[in-house]
Structures are given as structure tokens and as C-alpha cells.
């Protein structure tokens, strides 16, 4: 139970409370809870890793619940709040290599122009099934990449602006972990499908 107000904590250093959502500080200078990423760091991470433009996130606030689980919310609300969910879980931080979520990549990854691995029909099918595969042709960064493929349906002709993809017109499938010539699928069990 959270009490009224902010609570009187005797300790001098605030800690991350994994049971509530806290809005991320705008910048590192405003950080109060140690280890909590700032909004600026999160936006920069997507821009540096995948070239997803910072404006992509203009309509979203960022929150932490749990240890390093970051959420994007299309509105603003009071912080902290003890609701069960707030927008979409987009990123796992507080670890050496930040890991984007499948859902975040499907929703926001269309804008990515860097570290996007475009798979052919068979490779995409294996990826969606959750299988790892050899992929020696990739010469981009190692680590977490966006796996994508071409899918029928002309996104340019779409009536929905959000559904148009500028970057090569491929559709993100999910997050891959590329290491030593191998692409590992991180599609969660509940999202895997046999599409062969």
C-alpha cells in the first residue's frame, strides 16, 4: 500500500520502488533515484542504436516500474502512481546492454534505418517461430538488432500515416540478438507462431 503523499523515508538516498511507476527525469541533472535513466538518455539510445528520430517520442512520457523496466505512455499522469500498467513496456535498462521489447520494435521500429536486419521469407519464418539461425551476411553491429521483412501491402498507399514506413518499407518482426554470426530470436513464447 502506498500512503498519502510521498511517504517519509528515513534513508537519505531515494531508491527505485519496483511496485510503482515513476516518471523518468528529463535529464541526468534532474536525476534523484540512482541508476534511473533519464528521458534524454532513452531518446538518445534509440537514436544512436537504430536511428529512430528523437521526435518519434514527443507524444510519450517515460516511466520506470520494476528494476530497469521502462515504459512509454501516450499521456501524462501523476508520479508516482501504483497502477498495474502504463502504456507499453519498451526497454529493459539498468544492465550493460539495453534490450528493446518486441512490442516496442513492432510499433516504433518502422522508423529505424540502422541495425535493421532484413530477413528473407524462410529466415523470417524461423525468426517468428523463436528459432536461432546462422546469418553470416550481417555486417552491422553485434547485440540487439531489429529483425524485419518485406510484407505484402503497400504502406505508402496507406490511409493511416502511422502505417507508412520510410525506411526501405520493411516491417519489423521483433528483436534479434546478433552474436558470432548467429541471429538469436528473442520473440517471447506467447508471441511465437509457426507461419510456414
Amino acid at each position: 500500500m502506498s500512503g498519502d503523499g510521498t511517504g517519509e523515508n528515513a534513508s537519505s538516498t531515494p531508491e527505485n520502488d519496483g511496485q510503482q511507476f515513476d516518471r523518468l527525469p528529463a535529464t541526468a541533472d534532474e536525476r534523484v533515484v540512482p541508476g534511473r535513466p533519464s528521458r534524454q538518455e532513452v531518446v538518445s539510445w534509440w537514436a544512436e542504436r537504430y536511428e529512430i528520430s528523437p521526435e518519434t517520442w514527443d507524444g510519450h512520457t517515460f516511466w520506470e516500474k520494476g528494476n530497469g523496466k521502462l515504459w512509454a505512455f501516450a499521456a501524462d499522469t501523476v508520479s508516482p502512481t501504483d497502477v498495474e500498467g502504463l502504456g507499453m513496456r519498451i526497454l529493459r535498462a539498468r544492465q550493460e546492454h539495453w534490450k528493446p521489447s518486441t512490442n516496442a520494435v513492432q510499433r516504433f521500429g518502422r522508423e529505424a534505418t540502422k541495425n535493421v536486419v532484413v530477413l528473407d521469407v524462410d529466415e523470417a519464418t524461423r525468426f517468428a517461430k523463436g528459432e536461432d539461425q546462422e546469418l553470416p551476411r550481417w555486417d552491422g553491429d553485434w547485440g540487439y538488432v531489429i529483425a524485419a521483412h518485406e510484407i505484402a501491402g503497400d504502406s505508402e498507399a496507406s490511409e493511416t500515416p502511422r502505417a507508412t514506413g520510410e525506411a526501405g518499407d520493411v516491417e519489423p518482426i521483433g528483436v534479434g540478438l546478433y552474436l558470432h554470426g548467429e541471429l538469436r530470436s528473442t520473440v517471447p513464447k506467447g508471441r511465437r507462431e509457426d507461419l510456414s
Partner: protein
């Protein structure tokens, strides 16, 4: 006793109603336009050879020729959501607008919630509440799969719903003190799901209905109280029993400052008016503005839906 026999007096074509209740429902998907346009989703289904028929009342609601929406690329991408055809109705009646503050009082597993988010263009604030913690994970899973980001999920008893998590009764600038719209898709006896669940009526009893009516009244009253004057509240169930439908509306019309408003479903979707008399009870005449959906009219499940306006 066969519970559905109760409704013979409401229908001149009761045999057609009974026959429809015995037929299985087709698999239906709704296009999630947060992730793909209707055209694009259809093209992708065509390319995969997935056969479907567009419903004649909603271009984004597709009846699949074969059962199960799961195994196709457009589904994997979250462009489609498996949702019973008739259950697309209440979100249309609610007519949520981008940027508004909207409450879905009984949200899990989230088909209607995600449709509301789609209609809101994923902007504004959508509060999806459910009292069943176990079902909340399905709500979150479905919403995230469909790319929804304007949803706050809460786990409260909707009858005593508190806006405190959103800063009500504080001075905080982001606080929310009332909703613009609310959907009460109430727990019910589910008679209208008989085509999907042939055992839906196995545990039917008048005692059960009497018990659930109290919950329905409590949630609808709270929705009206939590919605701003001039705001819209939609009440829906997937059952035929007037005790759970018109009688609940009648009760709330007497207890709260609200009125039923006319609302027309899309052209091509046929409904019957609410009933003003049942088992010796008489209801407020305005309950006729509510919509009864019988399975044989549009070849769907059964449903009930009414749109109310909160008065000053």
C-alpha cells in the same frame, strides 16, 4: 428448463432465433489501424491466401473462411485482433475521440479496450480496469501486441472505482477528476455467447441473474458518477435477459442524473429496440432507445447496448 425459451414472447420469429443459436459462429478479426490500414491488412491476407469476407456493416471487421486467426503474418504483426463481430458495437456507440479521457470499467481481456484505443488514435488517456487480477495479464498482453500506448491498467472493484491513482483530490497539474466517456461492458449471464460456448447456459439460473444484476447496477452507477456532465456512458452486455439490460438502465435512470440517448449502429447492422415490459415489470419508456442484438438478425452472437448522457 431451456433458458432461451423465456424470450419466445419477445420475438415473432422465435424459431429463426433458436436455429441461429445452434449454429457455430464464424471466426472474425478486427483490423487494428494503429498498426496497419484496412487496405494494407487486407492485401497482406490476400497475399497469404487467407480467405475472408468483409462484413457489410464495418470495413475493418472481417469474417475468416477458416477457423482461428492466429497463424498469419498480419496477425503476428498485430494488424489483426480476433474479436467476436458483435462485440465491435459498444466502442462504436461510445464514439471516443482522440485526446479524451476514457474509462473501460470491465476491460479484460481487452478486445473492446484496444478498439477504443484505436478510435482514440492512441492519444489521450484510456483507463482499462478489471477486478480480476488474473485477467489483467491478458489485457496488457493484447494491448501491447496491438501497439497501444495510451492505456493505464488498474485493478479495482469498478463499483467503488477511485481516481486517486490519477491524482484526484490533489493539486497536481496532471490530475484527472472525471472521465469524458465510460464503457460498462458488464459481467453478465452470457446467454448471447451460446454460439461460441455451447455450454454457456449450463449454469444458468434466475438466482445467478439476480446476483449479477446488483453488480451491473453498481458499476453503471459508478460510471455515471465518474463521468463529467455532458459525457457519454455506454452500457452493454452479451445477454438477452431484460433483468440484466433494460431493468438495469431503468434503475440507473431513477437513481442517477442521466438520460438514454438515441444512437444508431452502422448501416447494415440490424437491431431490435429495448423492451419496456417484462414479467410484470414496466420500465422507463426511453429504454426503447437501447439496442437488442439477436443472433439471427446479422448472424452474430447476442448482445445489448445502450448509450447514456450524463446530465448536469
Amino acid at each position: 428448463m431451456q433458458p432461451l425459451e423465456r424470450y419466445a414472447s419477445l420475438l415473432s420469429d422465435f424459431d429463426a432465433f433458436r436455429a441461429a443459436c445452434d449454429r457455430p459462429l464464424p471466426s472474425v478479426v478486427r483490423v487494428n489501424t494503429l498498426k496497419a490500414s484496412v487496405e494494407r491488412a487486407r492485401e497482406a491476407l490476400d497475399a497469404e491466401g487467407v480467405a475472408y469476407e468483409v462484413t457489410d456493416w464495418h470495413p475493418g471487421v472481417l469474417r475468416l473462411d477458416e477457423r482461428g486467426p492466429g497463424t498469419s503474418w498480419p496477425y503476428f504483426h498485430g494488424w489483426l485482433h480476433g474479436q467476436e463481430e458483435v462485440s465491435a458495437l459498444p466502442a462504436l456507440a461510445l464514439d471516443p475521440q482522440p485526446g479524451e479521457v476514457v474509462w473501460d470499467a470491465c476491460a479484460a481481456p481487452g478486445s473492446k479496450t484496444s478498439q477504443i484505443a484505436d478510435l482514440m488514435d492512441d492519444t489521450g488517456l484510456l483507463v482499462g480496469n478489471d477486478n480480476n487480477l488474473g485477467r489483467l495479464s491478458a489485457l496488457r498482453h493484447n494491448a501491447e501486441r496491438l501497439g497501444v500506448t495510451n492505456l493505464a491498467v488498474t485493478n479495482q472493484d469498478a463499483r467503488n472505482f477511485s481516481l486517486k491513482p490519477f491524482g484526484d483530490r490533489t493539486e497536481q497539474p496532471e490530475r484527472i477528476e472525471a472521465f469524458d466517456r465510460a464503457l460498462v461492458d458488464a459481467p453478465c449471464s452470457c446467454e448471447g455467447t451460446i454460439r461460441k460456448n455451447p455450454d454457456a447456459l449450463d449454469r444458468w439460473s434466475l438466482e445467478h441473474i439476480k446476483g449479477i444484476v446488483g453488480i451491473q447496477k453498481g458499476i453503471l452507477r459508478r460510471a455515471i458518477q465518474a463521468t463529467r456532465p455532458g459525457g457519454t456512458v455506454v452500457y452493454s452486455t452479451c445477454t438477452f435477459a431484460p433483468e440484466e439490460n433494460e431493468a438495469v438502465l431503468d434503475h440507473v435512470l431513477r437513481e442517477e442524473d442521466c438520460e438514454i440517448r438515441p444512437w444508431e449502429p452502422p448501416e447494415g447492422f440490424e437491431t431490435d429496440p429495448g423492451v419496456t415490459e417484462w414479467k410484470g415489470e414496466e420500465y422507463d419508456p426511453s429504454v426503447q432507445l437501447a439496442h437488442r442484438v439477436y443472433p439471427h438478425r446479422n448472424d452474430t452472437g447476442g448482445f445489448f447496448c445502450a448509450r447514456l448522457e450524463v446530465m448536469t
